[in-house]
Amino acid sequence: MVRSGTLILNVAARFLLPLQLLFSLFLLLRGHDEPGGGFIAGLVAAGAFALYLFAFGLGALRAMIKVSPRDLVGLGLLFALGSTLPAWWGGEPFFTSQWWTVPIIGFKASTPLIFDIGVYLVVLGSVLTAITALMTTDRDPDA
C-alpha cells in the first residue's frame, strides 16, 4: 500500500508545492505567447498535488485543497462555457474572442484566457479525481 513518505520527501514536498503551483500559474498566464497554456499548467499543478499526496497522504491533501476535485472539473467546464458568452453582448457570434486591457498594469485580459483557465481547472480536477479515487480504494488509513 502507499504509505506516507519519508522525511526528505515530506520536507521537499512542503517547499516544492508552492513553487510548483506558482510555476503552473506562470505557465498558464504566459501560455498565449510562450510555451505553456492551460493544459500544460494543469498537468504541472496536478503533479504538484500528487507529490504532496505521496508525502502526506490523502487526508492531508483533502484538508488542504478543501474542495472536491470533481467540483474543480465542473468549475472548469463552467469557466470554459462562460468564456463563449461575452461575444454575444458585443453583437458578435458565439465564441468570438474578446480582448480587454486592464488599466494601470496593462494586462491583456481576454476570453481565451478565461477559456484557458477552464482547461486548467478541468485537467487539474480530472487528474486529481483519478488519483484520489485510486488512493481511496487502497484503503489508505488516512482516508
Binding site: D33, G38, E92, S126, I131, D138
Partner: protein
C-alpha cells in the same frame, strides 16, 4: 438582445436553489415574474404582428454554419409563446402551493424553468438547427420532470418511456430537418415558407415528410405513439398541467403548423395527417372513458385534442386552419385549468380516483365553479371558447376534401365521448352525495386557485367576445398558408348542421355519463385487446434492445484491453487502407534524409517498445515504455515543438504516478495468453504500424493541398493576439474542439471515479450498500 433576455432564464434556473434559500416559499412568486415579464414583452409585439408585420430579431450564433439565434415572432409563435409564458407563470405559482415544503422543490423549479426557456426557444427560433436544439432540450427537461419522484419505479419507467419515444422521434426529426434545409437551400423558417413550390416537387419530399412527421407525431403523442402521454401522468400535477396540456405535447403540432406553407397541401400530407389525426382523436376519446383516475381521464382527452389538431392541419382548408387556431387556444386554456383542478383534488382529498369523491361542492365552492366552467369548454358547450372551436371543427370536417364521411364519424364519436369525460371530471367529484376521502377536503391556497380561475375565466371571456381574437387568428392563418383570409369569430352561427351534431353529441354524452359505471365494467372485457396495443410493441422493442446490447457488450466490450485495441486498430486499418488504396493512387516519398541523432532517437523508441513487450516484470515494462515516451518528447524538441514536448513529458510523469498507484492493486505478473494469441496481436500491431508509416510517406509524397498551418502562422498574432500558435489554436481558432475535448476529459474523470468508488461487488452489477470509506468533501 431579446434573445439574451429570454435565454437568461437558464441562468435564473441555475440560481433557483439559492433564491429558495433566501426567499423560502416566496421563491415561486419571484420566479413567476420572469414569465410575466416575457408576457408583457410579447403583448408589446401584438399590434405589429396582428398588423401583418412579423417581428424578426436577428442574431448570429455560428455564422460559419448558417446557425442563427434569430427569433421570429409572427402570429403562430406569438400565440404559442404567450401560452407558454402565461400558463408558465401560473404553473410556477401553483407549484409553490402544490409542492409546498417538498424537499426537492428547488430542484423542481430549476428543471421547470429550464423547460420553460427551452420551450420558448423552440417556438421563437427561426433557424432549423436552433429549433432542433431547443426541441431536444424540452425532451430532456421533460424526462427529468416526469421522473421527478425518482424513488418511484413507475415514475422512472414512465420518464424513460417518454424520453425514448420522443428522442427516437427527435432523431428522425433531425434527419428530416437536414433534408429540409438542404432541399430548400435555407435554414431559416421564414425563407422556407416562401419555397413551398420547390420543396413539394423535390425528389426528397417524401422521405423528408416522413422523417419530420415522425418527429412531430412522437412529440405530440399521435397514434400509435400516444401511449407515453398517459403514462407520463406519473409526473407531479403542475408538470402535467404545463407540459402535457399546453406546451410540450403541442410542440409537434407547432412544427406541423409551421411547415404547412412549405410542405402542406400535397396528397401525402393530407392523407397522413387527416387519418393519423382522426385515429388519434378517436383512440384518445375512447380510451379516456375506461379510466377513473382523473389525471388519466384528462391525459387521454389531451390525446384526443392533439389528434383533432393534427387532423385539422391535414384538412388544411382556410376554415380548418381557423378551427385549428381556435381549438388550440381553447384546449390550452381549459386543459391547463382542469389539470390544475385535478391537482387540487388530489392535493386536498388525497385520492385521484373520481369514483372515490363526491359532493365536494359544499367544501370547495370556488374550485367547483372553476372546474365547471373549464369542463363546459372541454365539452364544447356555449358560451365558451371550446364551443366555437368545436363548431368550427365540425364545419371544416364537413367540407374536407378527403375521407369526409370517415372523419365525420370519428369526430362525432370523439365529441360525445369527450362530453362524457367532461361530465365525469366536473360532476362526479363535486356533486352527488358526499363521500369520505383520505383527507377532509377544503379550498386550496390562493396561489393554487389563481391559475385555473384565470384560465377558466379567459375561456368564458373569449367565448363571449371572440371578436378580440380576430386579428391574431387572421395573422396566424395567413402565416400558416391560407390565402388572404378575413376572419370573424362568432359564438352564434345560426341553426346549422354542426349545431345539430353538437346537440346529438350532448345527448349521447350525457347517456354515457349516466351509465358510466356499467359501461366501464363492459369495457373491461376489452382490456386484453388493448394490452396488445402499441405499448406492447414498445415493450417488445425495449426487450429486444436490451438483448442486442447484451450480445454486443459480450462480443465487443468483453473487458479484455487487448481485444478493444485489436478491434479499434483493425477497424482503423481497414477503413484507412480502403480509402488509401481504392480511392487514391498514393505516391510515396521515400527520399528522406535522416540525421544521425534523429536515427538514434528513433532507435531508442523502437528499443523501448520491443523491450516493453519482452519484459517479465511490470516495473521493467513500465520503465521501457517510459523510454519510448521520453524519446518521443525528445523528437518534439528536435523539431522545435516545445509545447508538445512539455505536454509529452508531463503526461509521461503522471502516467508513472498513476501506474504506481495501480501496480499495487494488480495480481502477480503472469503470461496468460497463448503464443498463438500473442502472434495474432503482433500481426495486428504490425499492420497498424505499417499503415501509419505508409500514410506518413504518402502525405509527404502526394500532391500538396494548401497547408492550413500557413493560415495559423499568419493570423496567430493579428487575429489571436498571441505568439504561441499552438495555444492560439487550442483556445481561440479551434476552441470549440477543445471545449469538446475537455468535456470528454471530464466525463472520463467521472467514469474513473464511478468505476473505482462504486465498483460492482464481485461483478454482480449491484452497488455496494455504502461507500467503502468516508466520501471526499461531501
Amino acid at each position: 438582445m431579446m434573445q439574451l433576455a429570454v435565454l437568461s432564464g437558464f441562468v435564473l434556473a441555475a440560481f433557483a436553489p439559492l433564491l429558495y434559500r433566501w426567499l423560502g416559499s416566496r421563491t415561486t412568486v419571484f420566479l413567476a415574474l420572469y414569465p410575466a415579464a416575457i408576457v408583457v414583452w410579447l403583448l408589446a409585439q401584438w399590434p405589429s404582428v396582428v398588423g401583418g408585420e412579423p417581428v424578426l430579431l436577428e442574431m448570429a450564433w455560428v455564422p460559419g454554419m448558417d446557425i442563427t439565434l434569430t427569433f421570429l415572432i409572427d402570429g403562430l409563435s406569438l400565440l404559442f409563446a404567450l401560452l407558454i409564458a402565461g400558463i408558465g407563470a401560473f404553473v410556477l405559482l401553483y407549484a409553490g402551493g402544490y409542492l409546498h415544503g417538498h424537499r426537492d422543490l428547488p430542484r423542481f423549479l430549476v428543471i421547470l424553468i429550464a423547460f420553460m426557456v427551452s420551450m420558448l426557444g423552440l417556438v421563437l427560433a427561426d433557424n432549423l438547427v436552433t429549433l432542433f436544439v431547443f426541441w431536444e432540450l424540452t425532451s430532456i427537461t421533460s424526462y427529468l420532470l416526469i421522473g421527478f419522484n425518482h424513488t418511484d419505479l413507475s415514475a422512472r419507467k414512465a420518464a424513460l418511456q417518454g424520453l425514448f419515444v420522443t428522442v427516437a422521434g427527435g432523431l428522425a426529426l433531425l434527419a428530416g430537418l437536414v433534408m429540409l434545409g438542404s432541399a430548400g437551400g435555407s435554414w431559416s423558417l421564414v425563407e422556407l415558407t416562401t419555397r413551398g413550390e420547390a420543396l413539394r416537387e423535390h425528389p426528397l419530399y417524401t422521405p423528408m415528410l416522413i422523417c419530420l412527421l415522425l418527429g412531430a407525431f412522437t412529440k405530440s403523442a399521435q397514434f400509435p405513439f400516444h401511449f407515453w402521454l398517459p403514462n407520463a401522468m406519473a409526473a407531479p400535477t403542475p408538470v402535467s398541467a404545463y407540459l402535457h396540456s399546453a406546451t410540450m405535447v403541442k410542440a409537434g403540432i407547432y412544427l406541423m403548423a409551421r411547415l404547412q406553407p412549405s410542405l402542406g397541401g400535397t396528397e401525402a400530407w393530407v392523407t397522413i395527417l387527416s387519418l393519423v389525426g382522426a385515429m388519434t382523436m378517436f383512440t384518445g376519446a375512447f380510451l379516456a372513458v375506461r379510466h377513473t383516475n382523473v389525471k388519466k381521464l384528462l391525459a387521454y382527452s389531451t390525446v384526443m385534442a392533439l389528434g383533432t389538431l393534427t387532423m385539422l392541419l391535414g384538412i388544411g382548408t382556410q376554415g380548418a386552419l381557423v378551427a385549428f387556431v381556435v381549438f388550440l387556444l381553447a384546449h390550452s386554456l381549459y386543459k391547463g385549468a382542469l389539470f390544475m383542478v385535478a391537482g387540487i383534488l388530489d392535493h386536498e382529498t388525497g385520492t385521484k380516483d373520481v369514483t372515490a369523491m363526491g359532493g365536494l361542492r359544499t367544501l370547495m365552492p370556488v374550485t367547483t365553479a372553476v372546474a365547471l366552467v373549464a369542463a363546459l369548454s372541454l365539452a364544447g358547450l356555449p358560451p365558451l371558447l371550446g364551443f366555437i372551436g368545436k363548431e368550427l371543427m365540425f364545419e371544416s370536417v364537413l367540407h374536407a376534401s378527403h375521407f369526409t364521411l370517415l372523419l365525420l364519424l370519428l369526430a362525432f364519436a370523439a365529441a360525445f365521448l369527450t362530453i362524457a369525460v367532461a361530465a365525469i371530471v366536473a360532476l362526479r367529484p363535486f356533486f352527488g352525495e358526499q363521500r369520505q376521502t383520505p383527507h377532509v377536503a377544503h379550498e386550496p391556497p390562493a396561489a393554487m386557485l389563481l391559475g385555473p380561475a384565470v384560465l377558466a375565466a379567459l375561456s368564458l371571456l373569449l367565448g363571449l367576445m371572440p371578436g378580440g381574437l380576430d386579428g391574431l387568428v387572421q395573422a396566424i392563418v395567413v402565416g400558416i398558408g391560407a390565402p388572404e383570409a378575413n376572419v370573424h369569430l362568432a359564438l352564434w352561427h345560426g341553426i346549422n348542421l354542426p349545431l345539430l351534431m353538437s346537440l346529438a353529441a350532448l345527448v349521447l354524452g350525457w347517456l354515457i355519463f349516466r351509465r358510466w359505471d356499467r359501461l366501464r365494467a363492459r369495457l373491461a372485457y376489452l382490456d386484453p385487446v388493448i394490452a396488445r396495443g402499441p405499448e406492447a410493441g414498445y415493450d417488445a422493442i425495449m426487450v429486444a434492445l436490451v438483448r442486442i446490447a447484451e450480445w454486443q457488450t459480450r462480443a465487443l466490450q468483453n473487458g479484455y484491453l487487448r481485444n478493444y485495441l485489436a478491434v479499434t486498430l483493425l477497424v482503423l486499418v481497414g477503413l484507412v487502407g480502403h480509402a488509401f488504396f481504392f480511392r487514391h493512387t498514393p505516391q510515396f516519398d521515400v527520399s528522406i534524409s535522416v540525421y544521425l541523432h534523429e536515427a538514434v532517437v528513433a532507435g531508442l523508441m523502437i528499443a523501448g517498445a520491443v523491450t516493453a513487450c519482452l519484459m517479465k516484470s511490470r516495473l521493467a515494462a513500465v520503465a521501457a515504455v517510459g523510454v519510448m515516451g521520453f524519446s518521443i518528447a525528445l523528437t518534439f524538441v528536435l523539431f522545435s515543438a516545445p509545447d508538445l514536448a512539455i505536454t509529452q513529458l508531463l503526461v509521461e510523469t503522471l502516467t508513472v504516478i498513476l501506474l504506481v498507484l495501480v501496480l499495487f492493486r494488480l495480481p502477480r505478473f503472469a503470461n496468460l495468453s497463448a503464443p498463438s494469441e500473442r502472434l495474432r496481436d503482433l500481426v495486428v500491431a504490425s499492420a497498424f504500424g505499417v499503415m501509419v508509416t505508409l500514410l506518413m510517406l504518402a502525405v509527404l509524397g502526394g500532391e500538396r493541398l494548401p497547408r492550413i498551418s500557413d493560415y495559423m502562422v499568419e493570423n496567430s498574432q493579428p487575429l489571436g493576439h498571441g505568439h504561441n500558435i499552438v495555444n492560439v489554436i487550442l483556445v481561440d481558432f479551434r476552441a470549440l474542439d477543445t471545449l469538446g475535448e475537455i468535456f470528454v476529459l471530464a466525463l472520463a474523470a467521472i467514469g474513473v471515479y464511478a468505476m473505482l468508488r462504486f465498483h460492482a461487488a464481485e461483478g454482480t452489477g449491484r452497488l455496494p450498500t455504502r461507500p467503502r470509506s468516508s466520501d471526499d468533501g461531501e
